[in-house]
Symmetry: C2
Subunit: 233 residues, 2 copies
């Protein structure tokens, strides 16, 4: 029988494998403060205090508050953007609606599992055009473009003829971001609800119900290929 390694009298000991790296602890604490109090009202001193480190140590990891926000925002889009190529490669040829459905589902999961609902921080004008956010804006635009491209290919011909890909992409992506509002209202985004949101996105492109049903069942089978650590669905 293996002896238990944790000893009495050391209640604060956390096994190294489950302890978060200091950088991640800073991100966690900052996310919570930004979301509950607002970005402008939060100082790096308060973030450091929350983590239990000195402000100087925080600056070892991040140049400032904007750099922290930029990384948090990246974490609300990057996990999805990084999967676009794989999504398009894995779905059967010419089943753009299935690719769109799968993209929506993965994006919903990213937003559902982002710590402290950081997706909500986007759209606050604090996210300026400063160079700090340039990489985030590029990643977000890549996602808008993927939504627009797959949406246009999935759309019925008369919708497609009258639609600008980027405008459609913005509408699709915004409709998926209802997830941040659901979380903000204290509700849970279940896989069932995620599927209803994804199906609604496809209807926005005038995809017929039978095609949506096929897309949903194919996407459900492929989702396992995109498992990410700590995901509950």
């Amino acid at each position: 029988m293996t002896p238990r390694r944790s000893l009495p009298g050391r209640p604060r000991h956390i096994p190294a494998t489950s302890a978060k790296a200091p950088r991640d602890q800073v991100l966690d604490a900052a996310a919570e403060l930004f979301v509950t109090r607002g970005f402008a009202a939060t100082s790096t001193r308060e973030i450091a205090e929350r983590v239990g480190i000195r402000q100087a140590s925080l600056y070892y990891h991040f140049a400032g508050k904007d750099e922290i926000l930029a990384e948090l925002l990246q974490r609300s889009v990057r996990p999805t953007v990084d999967k676009i190529a794989k999504i398009e490669a894995l779905v059967p040829p010419q089943t753009h609606a299935t690719a769109l459905y799968l993209l929506a589902l993965i994006d919903i999961r990213t937003l559902t599992e982002a710590p402290h609902n950081v997706g909500i921080l986007y759209g606050q004008s604090d996210v300026t055009n400063s160079e700090v956010y340039a990489e985030f804006h590029r990643a977000r635009q890549e996602l808008v473009d993927a939504y627009g491209r797959l949406g246009l290919k999935s759309a019925s011909p008369d919708i497609a003829a009258d639609t600008d890909a980027r405008e459609l992409g913005e509408m699709l992506m915004h409709s998926i971001e209802v997830v941040t509002e659901i979380r903000n209202g204290g509700k849970t985004v279940t896989p069932q609800r995620a599927n209803r949101i994804a199906a609604t996105a496809l209807r926005m492109c005038d995809v017929p119900q039978e095609t949506i049903a096929t897309a949903a069942s194919t996407a459900a089978g492929l989702l396992a290929e995109f498992h990410h650590v700590g995901s509950t669905w």
Copy 2:
């Protein structure tokens, strides 16, 4: 010939008819500061300074910062909510899709013309469950319910059977709120774009294209009945 009333040497004189009431000046200044800097980072002293009044005078109009935000948020939903009954009364009987289209169009116009894009302030967790915001939350819920009710009545039978009215209402309303994001990106919401957004909302309910086309032309004719002061479309 009527003599001109404005005298040289009084360049700051503004005719009483065009000058905004002090209460509205406070709302204007606060909206701009909340949107550009964030609610938490703005003080009533700064708002008063921006208007050019003393802080004590500001408190004559508003009990505090939350009361100002609550009224600004009301102005992003109230003009639409107040028209729900009239919308449902004016459209031809049983044309729920037309009512939904008209509601969407009027809501888009409200969000497009709200000063300083105040619609964007919703969803920031500053809008707490405090009693100050109760009236706003009730108005917003009324709008969600109207979207859900009209959306469910417009939907095809198999969508309707599988849909919760409140969930559909939230998705429809959220999709319309893409307007705040378009404005935040510095772009203009033209009447053409407004019509594309409204049509997309109807597609979310699986409304057939021909019905959407009829709804669009009927709604365009009825929109004049809802003209509001200062509207550009």
